[in-house]
């Protein structure tokens, strides 16, 4: 009798932890969808849902990278402005230098990886706390984006195919930007679950000292995680430049906070060791669905921010309550 009760215990706690967190976020998304569909006839139409999907693309891609970083118990404040810097570099490559579009994309990705690697170097080699290192990078990237672009937007009018990268449709009526987000998410989930990099990200977040004592080169792997975050910033840079058909150097501030919010709503623990890509994607959708729905209900933009902020706090609080019960 006693042993029957106790063998059930581990199963119960598994259900309570991972699965429950996913269900919680997913349930919340469905609830929000149901609420807005009920409140407005315009909300649950394909055109509007397409808008939500499109609006999630950039933040979702940024959040993928941030997920890895937060799993290591770190933080990255620079993803937004690094994204802008990447977009500007693409503009320079394609518009100013007249290079082909694939080269422009490559430039953006490499710029992101470079910025992420520098973050990683500051953090793991120089011992600067992630918050400060990436705060510095946030400002530097913003400044560089403005300097390189001459404080003016760079338009892609000479490269007509560039806009189609994200706004065209390959599959049904779904904008390519959304396809890019989903493919990126699948790759991210693969990296997190099936590769060495993902395993070490979790291990470092769970117990960094133990990971180091196990002979893992913590400094290198942590740098790699920040470089991966930079890669996703680079990808987001391409997507946003293509969507706007221009590289807007003044853009980017605030994107990092939306990305962090998406990750946190998705159940990734800020203390490290725990997090899922699926959760992050759901988190990103919750944010853009809320923004979209509130706008349809004519809630002023200022109040939309208040609601999003409250949701972030609620999500983290629910997570804390759940953990305390365990």
């Amino acid at each position: 009798m006693a042993s029957a009760a106790t063998t059930a215990a581990p199963r119960q706690s598994i259900l309570r932890s991972d699965a429950a967190q996913k269900l919680l976020a997913f349930g919340a998304l469905i609830l929000i969808f149901a609420f807005f569909s009920f409140a407005s006839p315009v909300f649950f139409t394909w055109e509007n849902i397409k808008g939500i999907l499109l609006a999630t693309a950039v933040n979702g891609i940024l959040a993928l990278g941030v997920t890895f970083i937060i799993i290591t118990a770190g933080i990255d404040l620079s993803v937004g402005t690094v994204m802008t810097l990447c977009a500007v570099m693409t503009g320079v490559a394609i518009t100013n230098l007249g290079l082909p579009i694939p080269v422009g994309i490559l430039v953006s990705l490499l710029t992101g990886i470079a910025a992420g690697s520098v973050n990683g170097f500051f953090i793991s080699r120089m011992g600067i706390p992630p918050f400060i290192a990436t705060l510095g990078m946030m400002m530097m990237a913003r400044g560089l984006a403005l300097v390189i672009s001459g404080v003016k937007p760079i338009y892609f009018n000479d490269a007509p195919g560039f806009r189609n990268l994200t706004m065209g449709t390959l599959v049904a009526d779904i904008p390519n930007a959304v396809i890019i987000l989903f493919v990126a998410a699948i790759i991210a989930a693969f990296i997190l679950g099936k590769t060495v990099l993902g395993r070490y990200a979790v291990a470092m977040g769970s117990n960094e000292e133990a990971t180091r004592l196990s002979g893992v080169n913590v400094a290198n792997w942590k740098t790699a995680v920040y470089a991966l975050g930079g890669f996703f910033s680079g990808l987001a840079g391409v997507v946003i430049a293509s969507r706007l058909n221009s590289a807007q150097p003044a853009l980017g501030m605030g994107y990092e906070l939306d990305a962090i919010a998406a990750v946190v709503i998705g159940g990734t623990s800020l203390s490290g060791g725990q997090g899922t890509i699926l959760g992050t994607v759901i988190g990103a959708f919750i944010i853009s669905t809320l923004t979209n729905g509130l706008r349809i209900l004519s809630v002023p933009q200022e109040w939309q921010m208040v609601v999003t902020g409250a949701i972030v706090i609620l999500a983290v609080y629910l997570d804390i309550v759940r953990r305390r019960r365990q």
Binding site: A2, P10, V202, A203, S206, A210, L213, V216
Partner: protein
């Protein structure tokens, strides 16, 4: 058999404020179990951490199979075939057991950066089988008891095919049945020519399992002897050397005074189960138990640092609700954490400020300005009475030695007029000389009518210092002993008295040792 695997000579190592190793030496042969003993702070762990690449030596030579070697990091040590099982558990709680065992050297899949999860699990399963461990490789490490986690760490070290295996207090959290299992594994490894360094405080174990014993004291090498022929008291006298506190300090006799603190039915989940005890004025009440037995949890609950599910606390017969450390301090409680640097001191500040930290109110003028001269005066007073070795009260606490840091914490609580002091591992990381000073100080405080709860994992310390001893295991109080009737063996019996229920749910093979535990419970 007689191949020398490792030879360490002239090893020096200093940390800020402490000379941890002075010209230390050690030799390990293939196929021997070599015990490394000494009191806390003797330098055993430090020496072995140098061998396993965690610390770098300041001076000295390490020879591996006769060749001089520099070991720059844990990875190099692993490559040489040296692995260490640490005293503190070193698993990643969010990873599965298999993932923990293979961290850093995962079998790769189709592509070099891909993990082969199936292989990781299969190999771990085989490894557990070899060790008779009935654990599922897919379980998360956080779901295991401390003892099981320890077994997993041992499995991890074995999976390296190490030639040198260092075990730092491997039995500290194990039951007798588990210890037997561990010894079986150790003997098996020895017969395969592995050299095993065995650090332990349980001297009676050494006779059972070790071939040679090296004794260290105050960071220095004392002697290496044959385990079979040497009597245990010889080892002890070599360990304590100058017999600094071999004679038990006189305990102040204050037995039949009033009860100052009473704790009734303290409960919190699985961590605290029906904890009941009382503390008398002028008494030193020892709390013994294994790692994770719940002693620190009791202390933190009484002090209001952690919430409880239920329970009552009475001070001087009056029920009090302590839900916050602030209330505890106001009620005259002081808590000296086992982790001084994290919870006890602001190490970046000076002695004077640390001394006043728990009672700033005393040093404020009516307009809320800090009265510096009063603070300094009070700090100087305690520097003198507690014999804190510091050039001045303006010295930063991080520059003091462990013993003197501990005294600063004591001074802090005395400044706050605490009458009930909870010492959590008061001599951890403190060298032998300073240790005896702390002991004298505890006795003096008790003599002055302060009541003391002393949590300690060192049985000799518990036996030497306590009027009464409470033993905990898995969140419950399993025994209470008077100083006159307490022995190491009796404390250990209580400390390993796991509940029948937990034995069954852990696995089946330990049911045989659950039976005697049940008998002892009913005897009591």
């Amino acid at each position: 058999m007689d191949t020398v695997l490792v030879k360490m000579e002239g090893i020096d190592k200093s940390f800020p404020g402490v000379r941890a190793l002075i010209n230390a030496q050690f030799e390990l042969r293939a196929g021997e179990v070599h015990a490394l003993v000494g009191e806390n702070g003797a330098g055993k762990s430090t020496l072995m951490k140098i061998l396993s690449g965690i610390y770098t030596k300041d001076a000295g030579h390490i020879y591996y199979l006769g060749e001089e070697t520099e070991i720059d990091g844990p990875r190099e040590a692993q490559h040489l075939g040296i692995s260490m099982i640490h005293q503190e558990l070193n698993l990643m709680p969010h990873l599965t057991l298999a993932q923990n065992v293979f961290i850093g050297r995962e079998p790769r899949g189709a592509l070099p950066f891909m993990l082969d999860e199936r292989k990781i699990n299969a190999q771990t399963e085989a490894l557990f089988e070899r060790m008779n461990l009935r654990l599922n490789p897919g379980t998360k490490a956080s779901e295991l008891t401390v003892a099981k986690q320890q077994m997993v760490e041992i499995a991890k070290a074995l999976s390296f095919d190490s030639q040198v295996l260092i075990m730092d207090e491997p039995t500290a959290a194990l039951t007798n049945a588990e210890i037997d299992e561990l010894f079986r594994i150790i003997r098996d490894l020895r017969s395969k020519g592995v050299g095993i360094v065995y650090i332990s405080h349980r001297l009676e174990e050494l006779k059972q399992i070790c071939d040679r014993i090296t004794v260290m004291r105050d960071g220095q090498y004392v002697d290496t002897v044959d385990a079979a022929s040497i009597p245990i008291d010889r080892i002890i006298s070599m360990m304590v050397g100058r017999t600094i506190y071999e004679s038990a300090p006189e305990l102040p006799e204050n037995r039949d005074t009033e009860t100052v603190l009473e704790v009734r039915n303290l409960n919190r989940g699985k961590e605290l189960i029906d904890v009941n005890f009382s503390l008398k004025k002028g008494e030193i009440l020892g709390f013994a138990g294994l790692m994770g037995a719940g002693r620190t949890e009791v202390a933190r609950a009484i002090f209001g640092a952690d919430p409880v599910d239920s329970g009552e606390i009475y001070l001087y017969g009056k029920r009090v609700g302590i839900h916050h450390p602030r209330t505890a301090v106001q009620n005259g409680l002081g808590y000296l954490s086992e982790d001084r640097k994290r919870y006890g001191l602001a190490t970046g500040l000076n002695v004077e400020i640390n001394n006043a930290l728990a009672s700033m109110g005393q040093f404020l003028s009516s307009v809320g300005v800090v009265n510096d001269s009063k603070m300094e005066e009070r700090a100087e007073q305690y520097v003198e009475t507690l014999a804190i070795k510091t050039p001045s009260v303006n010295q930063l606490v991080k520059n003091l030695s462990g013993g003197n840091q501990q005294k600063v914490v004591i001074g802090k609580w005395l400044t706050a007029d605490s009458d009930i002091l909870i010492f959590d591992e008061p001599t951890r990381g403190i060298d032998v000389g300073a240790k005896s000073e702390i002991y004298h100080l505890l006795n003096e405080l008790a003599g002055q009518g302060k009541s003391i709860i002393m949590i300690s994992s060192e049985l000799p310390e518990i036996l030497r210092m306590s009027h009464r001893i409470i033993v905990m295991c898995e969140g419950r109080i399993t025994g209470e002993l008077d100083a006159t009737e307490a022995t190491q063996e009796r404390i250990m019996t209580y400390a390993t008295m796991r509940s029948v229920l937990t034995d069954q749910d852990d696995d089946n093979h330990s049911t045989d040792d659950a039976a005697p535990a049940a008998v002892t419970v009913s005897q009591k």
